[in-house]
Amino acid sequence: MIEAEAVVAAGTLKTTCSRDDLLRGLGIVSRGVSTRTTVQILAGILLDATGGKLSLAATDMELSLRTTVEAKIESEGSVVVPGRLLLDIARLLPETEVSLEHRLEEAVVEVRCGSASYRLHTYNPEDFPRLPDTQGVELHEVDRGTLLETVARVSRSASRDESRPVLTGVLVHFEPGKLVMAATDSYRLSVKETSLEGSVPELEAIVPARALGELARIAGEGEKIVLGVHENQVVFGTGDAWLTTRRIDGQFPNYKQLVPDAFEHEVPLPREELLDVVRRVSVMAQRNSPLRLRFADGELVVSAQTQDVGEARESLPASFGAEALEIGFNAEFLRDGVDSVGGETVRLKLISPLRPAVLQGEGDDFLYLIMPIRLAG
């Protein structure tokens, strides 16, 4: 772990701030509040009033979120309050000015706003985990839009199955002139290469997909995002918030060797139209039933059938002149792929019904590989 950052202030906290500022800050850090109830302190948000500002922090030991709020500090100090509760209260407060006062002897924080007042029981700030340090980490600047777009297109291929931790992460890899991100749940694989201007850090880490999702949520403004890797932590900084996340240990699959070099067929299709067809037919692909794509005679027929439920089919013209080919896909995976490719045309590259298929847009900077479903019969 990284050294503790700030020494927790020793006095009793007393501060006043605007309701909207407080709400914005709580909105940022509350996603770091642990939902697991086993360690009570992790359900708390650390309020720390020092040096003329109010800092908020939360961590579930994997992901930490921190931000500061403009505030008038009347007495420096720090305290931990139930995070969810404080957020719920802040959302409902009647007036614009809020005061927070820690009453040490009663072990409560008093929240006052207009004629409303609340007393929240507190946790001991000594029990709050030391947050990973952001000082002393070598930070690099990346264009915010570029980074977030790459995250958005890649991270949905990450696995939600905790039994293979490496696959729950996104491989973030900087190399000269570009940023590469890859994610796979072993059924599909997304890889995006993005050119970067200026100096590019040389670093590589497997970052939990969930943390990147939170980054996209909190990085609302600003041109740049700073990032750095320090031991087992990855640090992201946006204009006014810091996100640190545990990096995932292990070897990311060597995905390059899994992407076929050559394909038998390459079928260009209008992306929006295909997406609509896939969405409509998917309604009848329930309980893991496959979506069937049949290519023949200048036509693609998409169909789905669920036993005891029903079936659907729809066709669209396709430039396909070879011998008929039928391949099955998981409906959600195909939808994700067509969606994330972007652009007007999607190129569907196929080898055979049991080999991986690849979806690409007009350029080659993004690739979505999808494993088929072996069809019955």
Partner: protein, 396 residues
Amino acid sequence: MDKATILHADVDAFFAAVEQRDDPRLRGRPVLVGAWVVLAASYEAKARGVDTPMGVARALRLCPNAVVVEPRMSAYSEASKAVYEVFDDTAPLVEGLSIDEAFLDVRGVRRLSGTPVEVAAQLRRDVRDRVGLPITVGIARTKFLAKVASGVAKPDGLLAVSPERELAFLHPLPVERLWGVGRVTAAKLHGRGIRTVGEVARLAEPELVSLLGRASGRQLHALAHNRDPRTVRPNRRRGSIGAQRALGRRPKTLADIDAALVGLVDRVARRMRAAGRVGRTVVLRLRFDDFSRVTRSHTLPYPTSSTQAILTAARALLATAAPLIELRGSTLVGVAVGNLGDGRAVQLALPFDPHSSDALDAAVDEVRQRFGAPAITRAVLLDRGPGLAMPVLPDA
């Protein structure tokens, strides 16, 4: 349920009987099947006190002129299939218990085939003629009593217990005949001077519970009064496919357990593929030195029958149970895959580990199909032997 229509059919000394059938020189002689441990003994050997499982060396001291035969699991599998064909031809309801025994309910076949006793006699002739094996049949109103009856009638016998003489039949029997009474329970009962089923029946249920614990106390009380409401249930499509392996009392390292797990997953995944099934929930079962048990399960996002996918999940479960194993030692490991579905439409996975892909599974299955299970194995299992791999019923 007022007529005795349940048959319990059990091949006598199954493995040994198959050996004696296939090799005339073994007939009439004591036969021990097994390499180091006696898996089965012919009645000639059992008469000399050989029991299963027992070390071969010890069995040979008891019965020096016995012939020791290496097990031929494929022959037993085939014999089992043939016996089950006879069962299926005999009764509409067949509930397989193991490779060589089953319950049959012959209610409703009276007009076609005769009384239960006539049906049972024909069944015995059919198994003898069509498969060449001796089989014993017990007939009663309940499953439990039918099984007791076949146990009493063994070997090569037929015994029907009519409803009016159930308790008269049951109560003089030694307690060991009751389902679930092994050496430990029998010793506890003997310690109280209880030797017959009738003496168990005279005890009140709370007494038995305090003596044997809640589950077995209650069970024994019910059985001693011949209360067994279970009906013969044709084995519906299985809800899970699993295998387990005893590890012995010697302390086991995690690597030992892992190796056993690898072998079990291999077997389970192969059976799933053979049955055309895929499953989502991987269950790890462990028994500890103190005989307590735990199960850990993990549900995968998509159904699979891939050896590698199941092994990855099983190993993750083993890792979470590692502290418990360190603390309490492990004597049994098992793995099962549940949440089974039809394996015809299977989501293929990327071959991250090029040595463990779907294609490899298919190739290994084919080799084993043609040359037998030991023809190909994992390196980690090379010096560990196959364990006592019992043939299993074909999975539906």
